[in-house]
């Protein structure tokens, strides 16, 4: 697969400035052209009324079959609450070394945890999650370096602890993977 670009597809409303900041951060980390494309999906098909959440596994498959291409990596951006059947929630998911991933902003806002609204924090957290899922799509597994963006995060506080950048080792793995293509 000859990677030529990264595509971000927002499903639902995201402010343009917000999307632009994500796009720039992704471009800075991966050095690929980043496109933002509009996408439309009937999310009701993925809604579980008992859990009142959206099935992330099914959504990821749908994104992969409808919006992905062999020449790039595609990330679906959502503002709904995602889950996978075994877990109560997820921030995002991706096919390891695959073409696509998903990430949701739903659980990243401060006010959901009884704290003051802070748009900058949401933006920073979402940037990290999008880069994290893209990292999986580029074949990276979770990293144990505390500041590496590939460190596993199960709470928003974990996301705040890490940076939006790859550690030296993860960066090398991505570069090595790309040179093998």
């Amino acid at each position: 697969m000859d990677i030529q670009n990264i595509t971000l597809i927002p499903f639902g409303y995201f402010e343009e400035v917000f999307l632009k900041s994500i796009s720039e951060a992704v471009k800075h980390e991966f050095h690929f052209p980043v496109n933002i494309k509009e996408g439309h999906l009937d999310l009701s098909e993925f809604y579980d009324p008992i859990r009142r959440q959206y099935n992330g596994t099914k959504l990821l498959r749908e994104i992969d079959s409808l919006f992905s291409s062999d020449t790039g990596k595609t990330i679906g951006l959502f503002s709904v609450d995602l889950y996978i059947p075994i877990l109560t929630y997820i921030y995002g998911q991706a096919f390891l070394n695959g073409r696509s991933g998903i990430a949701s902003v739903y659980r990243l806002s401060n006010e959901r945890y009884g704290m003051n609204i802070d748009d900058k924090i949401i933006q920073d957290r979402f940037i990290k999650e999008v880069i994290h899922e893209l990292g999986h799509a580029f074949g990276l597994i979770h990293c144990y370096i505390p500041t590496c963006v590939m460190r596993s995060s199960t709470y928003v506080e974990d996301i705040d602890q890490k940076s939006a950048n790859f550690c030296f080792s993860c960066k090398n793995q991505i570069d090595a993977g790309l040179s093998d293509l």
Partner: protein, 446 residues
């Protein structure tokens, strides 16, 4: 390099299997899935997993029955049971049957991470425990290398210089000289000391048994192979394998061994999966491998592969000056282990030990002292406590006269200086015996 943890997921719901699979793959684990208990047990017959995540409610065999079977196959398996139908009874039953933990789905991502972290911590603690136990045993045994003689100093110097490398070593020396102790000393002073030292006595096993012992076997590989078994090469990963009596292995085994030493890869008997293991080889023999190579009974390529460094352990008769130290050490060792008061040795008994040839070397001396501590009733070991009568071939004896003198004295002592009985035993007449006593100036002991 950290070991890659393997996880087997057993659940009848595809969506649950998929969710867990993708979650664990992102964490870098090796993951496999099975949709029911029978398939999981079939997978476990040919593969091993560090952690098994199993649903309780499944069609056919349920998770609890599967848990019991897994524990029967491999008691140290870590099984975590998951279910959507949590009841206290099933949770208690699962834990009683040996489950590591019990969770109700769906659970928080953090709980899942925490659960796996605890399980992997348990695995690494168990492995560390095993490794430390072996290390303690090794260090205790290294103390057995006693001696201040020049010959022993050379051995200790060789051990020191070779320990830090990963080169193959051949230890030569007569039986009972302590070749295995030298191997333990090399291992304990090497960077591999926190990993196992695995010993194999090649001479004690038939060719097929040795093959299974070294390479392991798969279930059903031969009659009686009821379960998969790890081989000694696999067990020695990151550590050292000690092959004793290497000269006794068959020609076929020599070829197999050479291949493993060159590639550090092998396949279990009856299996087809290639296994890698990083081990160091130390061999020992009381035979002359070089002359066996010349005679064609030992492969030359294997000889050179093994004999990168050679350490010769001298027989006890070549280091007589070490005997008092060894005697003192063995007395302390056996008095302590038998809970007896500290003993000493009579100077005449020690002198006789120093004159003894010790065909069985240090092992024979150790056995003698152990016996003396057991049978002796005093605080001092004397001549009568030592079984030396039948084997007096002192290295101080050089002439026939010396030999004759020693033998006549032994017989006279045996028959309490009864001349008639001693003469009869020696098959000479009494006059001849008197003449010999006079010639050698023999006297009864006090």
């Amino acid at each position: 390099m950290a070991k890659k943890i393997s996880i087997l997921i057993v659940d009848d719901e595809e969506s649950v299997r998929d969710s867990l699979y993708s979650w664990f793959i992102e964490d870098g684990y090796r993951v496999e899935c099975a949709e029911n208990a029978n398939k999981a047990l079939a997978i476990l017959e040919s593969d091993t997993f560090d952690i098994i995540l199993a649903d309780i409610k499944m069609p056919g065999m349920d998770g609890l029955e599967m848990l019991r079977r897994i524990k029967f196959l491999r008691s140290d398996s870590i099984v975590i049971v998951i279910t959507a139908f949590a009841t206290v009874d099933t949770a208690v039953q699962a834990l009683k049957d040996g489950a590591f933990d019990y969770v109700t789905k769906p659970f928080d991502p953090d709980d899942l991470s925490h659960l796996i972290r605890n399980a992997t911590k348990q695995i690494s603690l168990s492995e560390e425990n095993e490794s430390l136990k072996k290390r303690v045993v090794s260090l205790e045994n290294v103390e057995d290398l006693i001696g201040k003689s020049e010959a022993m100093k050379r051995v200790l110097k060789d051990i020191e210089s070779v320990a830090q490398s990963s080169s193959s070593v051949v230890i030569t020396g007569e039986s009972g000289t302590g070749k295995e102790l030298v191997a333990r000393a090399i291992h304990s002073n090497s960077t591999r000391k926190f990993f196992p030292l695995v010993s194999v006595h090649c001479g004690a096993l038939t060719e097929s048994l040795l093959e299974s012992e070294l390479f392991g076997h798969e279930k059903g590989a031969f009659t009686g192979a009821m379960y998969n078994r790890k081989g000694r090469f696999e067990m020695a990963d990151n550590g050292t394998i000690f092959l004793d009596e290497i000269a006794t292995i068959s020609t076929k085994m020599q070829i197999d061994l050479l291949r493993v030493l060159e590639s550090k890869k092998f396949v279990r008997v009856g299996g087809n999966k290639e296994i890698s293991s990083d081990f160091r080889v130390i061999c020992a023999t009381n035979k002359d491998l070089k002359s066996m190579v010349e005679k064609g009974t030992f492969r030359e390529d294997l000889f050179y592969r093994l004999n990168v460094v050679n350490i010769y352990v001298p027989p006890l008769r070549e280091r007589i000056e070490d005997i008092p130290l060894l005697v003192d050490y063995f007395i302390k060792k056996y008095c302590t282990s038998m809970n007896k008061p500290p003993a000493t040795i009579d100077s005449s008994a020690l002198k006789r030990l120093e004159e003894f040839s010790f065909p069985g070397n240090v092992r024979e001396l150790e056995n003698m002292i152990e016996r003396a501590i057991v049978v002796g009733n005093g605080k001092k070991i004397s001549l009568k406590d030592l079984p030396l009568e039948k084997t007096i071939i002192s290295n101080s004896i050089e002439s026939l006269d010396d030999l004759e003198k020693t033998h006549i004295l032994q017989i006279l002592n045996k028959y309490s200086w009864n001349i008639s009985r001693a003469a009869k035993a020696l098959k000479v007449d009494r006059v001849t015996l008197y003449n010999k006593i006079s010639k050698y100036k023999l006297k009864p002991a006090d």
